[in-house]
């Protein structure tokens, strides 16, 4: 049998007790929150101002010692300079142009009955301009064909050596014809950075289709009397 409860407290007293209970609960919560904040503060203070500062100081000391040790290596600046110069010189040697190959190329490309009187190689635009003379227009055409159809092989690949071959001027005189040709060349033809599997620099090999007669002596290309 359920007992019957009687609340004999006056309403004002009951309200006061309820308010006190609420106040105590609020106080407890505030204290807990305050405690958590205080703990967090203490933890961060100890870690930031004691632990980390000591670690930073120790690391800085170690860095200073190692730096001093590094600076005390005898001739360190000379060693670093020589190392750096060698590294840069090697890189500069690889990017330079091997312009002397033009003699071998011209010997293969220039037909027997023609000569070259002026040659301009511009490596900034990869263009070549050839002025010269020949016995006939057919010889000049053969030269143009040779430029257009020549290929170079390098590191197992074959590519067209020249493109945009243009006969920029042509005239006939008593000795024959005077011509001027311009063409764009593949930069690999004069590159110094084609390295094979053995680490050796490879020079491209130029091949001209049969039917175009080249020369054995590169010097004869510039001989006026060769046609």
């Amino acid at each position: 049998m359920k007992g019957i409860e009687f609340n004999l407290l006056p309403k004002s007293r009951s309200d006061a007790m309820h308010a006190q209970a609420q106040q105590e609960e609020l106080m407890a919560k505030a204290l807990s929150a305050g405690l958590v904040c205080a703990c967090l503060f203490i933890l961060l203070f100890v870690y930031g101002d004691i632990v980390q500062k000591s670690q930073i100081s120790s690391t800085n000391k170690s860095i200073t010692e190692k730096t001093a040790k590094l600076q005390q290596v005898p001739n360190i600046n000379t060693i670093l300079t020589v190392q750096n110069q060698l590294k840069t010189a090697a890189s500069l040697n690889q990017t330079k142009h091997i312009s002397s190959r033009i003699f071998a190329y011209l010997a293969k490309l220039t037909p027997n009955n023609s000569n070259v009187s002026n040659l301009v190689l511009d490596f900034s635009t990869n263009t070549v301009k050839v002025d010269g003379g020949a016995d006939s227009a057919n010889t000049v055409n053969a030269f143009i064909d040779a430029l257009k159809s020549s290929q170079y092989s390098s590191l197992g690949t074959k590519n067209a050596a020249f493109s945009s071959v243009v006969e920029s001027s042509f005239s006939i005189n008593t000795k024959g014809v005077v011509y001027s040709l311009t063409a764009t060349f593949d930069p690999a033809l004069f590159a110094n950075n084609l390295i094979d599997s053995n680490g050796k620099i490879q020079a491209p090999s130029l091949s001209v289709p049969s039917g175009v007669t080249g020369r054995s002596d590169p010097a004869s290309v510039f001989n006026q009397g060769s046609h």
């Binding site: 929150a33 750096n84 060698l86 002397s100």
Partner: protein, 230 residues
């Protein structure tokens, strides 16, 4: 009869006092909590910053360890290759480290510094190019360029970069002479890059004009820099 002047506290007054004290304590707790919270925020950003500094310091320390080990190895290799007592240098000349020694009889370190000089030294460049032209039979050698010694910085730095010097050479000679000059430029231990080449003429007399880029690179110094953490 004795009069009791002090007012006796009524139960209601006692409750009010307790409540007041409670609120005072609550206020103080809130105040202290707020202070701790605000300070924690400041401390947290300090801790995070210091952690960043620590992490960077550890990285720098590790890098220094690597550098120290590499430097020791480099110094040993340098001694073996450049300060050896081998009678000949890497080019086959005499290994002579005296100041009076002239190429090719110089030590390997000087060879490396001849390949890429550490100073601008325009006159030396002109002398080298003239020698290449005359030794290969080119007559009337001419070198055109501007000496920029006054405006070029050759001071050692911790990250030197190659500096280009542009000159134009010209001269006359046979086809062989022209070819040999170009070959010599290519085989020179100092890198010479021909950027524009003109060969004109006929028969045994050809004219050569070539624009050349030569380089120097200032000396390198051990660079230890300080980085400001943000």
């Amino acid at each position: 009869m004795k009069l009791k002047l002090a007012a006796t506290k009524s139960p209601k007054s006692k409750v009010d006092n307790d409540e007041l004290r409670g609120w005072l304590i609550f206020g103080m707790v809130v105040l202290v909590g707020a202070f701790c919270l605000y300070s924690s925020k400041t401390l947290l950003s300090k801790v995070l910053y210091q952690q960043k500094v620590l992490s960077a310091s550890h990285k720098a320390s590790k890098q220094l360890d690597t550098n120290l080990s590499a430097t020791t190895q480099l110094a040993t290799q340098y001694k073996g290759l450049f300060e050896n007592d081998n009678p000949s240098n890497i080019l086959g000349g005499k290994n002579d480290s005296s100041a009076q020694a002239v190429p090719p009889n110089i030590d390997n370190a000087r060879l490396a510094l001849d390949a890429l000089p550490i100073t601008y030294d325009y006159p030396a460049l002109i002398a080298s190019l003239t020698k290449i032209m005359t030794d290969n039979g080119l007559s009337a050698p001419t070198i055109t360029g501007t000496d920029q010694t006054a405006t070029t910085n050759s001071q050692p730095t911790d990250s030197p970069q190659p500096v280009m010097i542009t000159v134009t050479i010209s001269g006359n000679g046979t086809s062989n002479a022209v070819s040999n000059v170009l070959n010599s430029l290519e085989k020179s231990i100092r890198p010479f890059d021909v950027t524009n080449l003109q060969i004109s003429g006929t028969g045994s007399q050809l004219g050569l004009t070539a624009s050349i880029n030569a380089y120097f690179q200032p000396a390198k110094t051990l660079g230890i820099t300080q980085e400001k953490m943000r």
